[in-house]
Amino acid sequence: MSTANRETPSPTAGRAGMKKELPEQFKDYRHVWVFIELERGQVHPVSFELLGEGRKLADKLGVELAAVVLGPPGEATWHAVAEAFAYGADLAYVIEDPLLAHYRNEPFTRAMTDLLNTYKPEILLLGATTLGRDLAGSVATTLLTGLTADCTALDVDADGSLAATRPTFGGSLLCTIYTLNYRPQMATVRPRVMAMPQRVDKPVGRVIQHKLAMAEEDVVTKILGFLPDNQSAKANLAYANVVVAGGLGLGAVENLQLVKNLARAIGAEYGCSRPLVQKGWMPADRQIGQTGKTIRPKLYIAVGISGAIQHRVGVEGADLIVAINTDPNAPIFDFAHLGIVIDAIRFLPALTEAFTRRLSPHNRDKLAS
């Protein structure tokens, strides 16, 4: 949340020296919490990614990892609790209430702040989704504590403070932010920035149930309806296994078809760098990078993309990055694993054809035998 326009851009930026002993009222704040985002019966995968990260922080601090599950009475909520245990939570704080069936700011802020004030964790992590960002801002302001948004790395330092790292200055630099003298220390992390932890079947955990001190009459905002996104039209880039993306190097909007053809041949999602969205060549939900989607595929093929830092931060989690670019000095070759210096317009049809040949049913059978 520390905005990039701080007046102290120096590398040794300066108020860390003001760090004093934690005020008395915050001394008993302990343990790490992760907010479990439950919507329409589904837990957002970012919650599990955060449990993985929260586990590491809790282990370093020698404290417990708790999941916060807010949901309607019934199966979905308890399923989310079980999943939270499977992904590493030691215990879960649960509020079951019909008001929590669908996200609304008022009851969720109330539920969360009540829990925080009652059980006093030192760290609270939330996904930087539309829901998580809506909730985090309200909760942090209610408690008047610090919140660092869209972190890319989390750690605890020697004295047990949360060190939250995020991009700054338009992504050209990173900064590490501390919450001095306030608790809980809050941070949000975007989906796919952290790795998905291993799921362990049927572990058990403690459950602490709490009541929501609110009735429907207390909630001003009413939900009139919900229109689900058209799933088939919608890109699921963040969670795709294979992604092919095109950049300005494609030269013309028609050449996007080459990227789409390759994607289709290998069963990949396709995406793009930001300028293509700005030109209106692709919808915004296909943009990859700091201000678009963060991806973590097994294979990422970047076509005619220079590899600017804002793009790089969105793709670094890929297992294998392949870059196709005419410029041998393009920055993308600094972080790609495999590269080929070639005109993509000429090369893509050949590559698509070669993949199709290799993956054809005939060869597939050979592979299986």
């Binding site: 949340m1 520390s2 905005t3 990039a4 326009n5 120096s10 590398p11 040794t12 108020r15 860390a16 003001m18 985002e37 700011n105 008022e106 539309t130 985090a136 801002g137 309200s138 942090a140 302001t141 008047l144 610090g146 919140l147 660092t148 200055f169 050209s172 630099l173 990173l174 900064c175 932010i177 501390y178 001003v220 009413k222 009139l224 919900f226 689900p228 041949a265 990949a268 915004a284 201000t291 294979l299 790089r312 041998p328 993308i332 070759f333 694993h337 495999l338 590269g339 080929i340 070639i342 090369f347 050949a350 590559l351 070669a354 993949f355 199709t356 290799r358 993956l359 049913p361 597939r364």
Partner: protein, 283 residues
Amino acid sequence: MHIVVCIKQVPDSAQIRVHPVTNTIMRQGVPTIINPYDLFALEEALRLRDAHGGEVTVLTMGPPMAEDALRKALTYGADRAVLLTDRYFAGSDTLATSFALSQAIAKVGETFGMPDIVFTGKQTIDGDTAQVGPGIAKRLDLLQLTYVAKIASIDLDAHEITVERRSEGGMQMLKSRLPCLITMLEGTNEIRRGSLDDALRAARSQIVKWSAADAGIEDLTKCGLRGSPTVVKRVFAPTSRAEKAAQIDTTDKSLRDLADDLIAAIFTRQPALEQELAVDGGA
């Protein structure tokens, strides 16, 4: 109706350069713009005013030069501009920013009439936190409607508003009450060109300039660095991977051979992928 739109002047970040040795930002000569996300909020406010009557006040907190952003907003058709500027605000994080802005909005309300709606952009392009809007809502006890894609209806007499709000996996249709705080989603409208009249008016307009004291802020410990619970401990450049990409040798090869070479190199590094692609793809 009275609508307040909070805007921010930001460096045109496409043009920011980082000093290669000292890792500091080279700001000199970087042009500033109105945070692009704020323009969707401003346009929505102008449309509501045009439909329902009333006034749009734009508000920014920033250095004296942020006046440029306000003047620009006036050329688009805003009726009044307020600049909140004071050295005490320097170094504000989102909590301190939402404090100062909420105090100023309260003062705007006292001076020019209570706002029915406070708008902010979805986020800024320099801070990128999306947290100031919710912070203002909480501090002013306004109903909070974030990521609004469409304002479906407003009933000023009943103080009711219905909106479509982007949420995970779909659009929520919400009915809420005025006064409220709305953060507008990007791409929901396009900022108007502004008329010649507006341009002339903007040039003549007096911009209201408030210090912390003018805005009625008494507790300066809640402002700027002192009012910010978070501190930046370290700013650094991302490290690069130790090795560069392994390059496919392109000398004297046909496109077909090169494609086969690249695919072989991919499957050598990720053998499990071949099965997976064969199952999903290639159809």
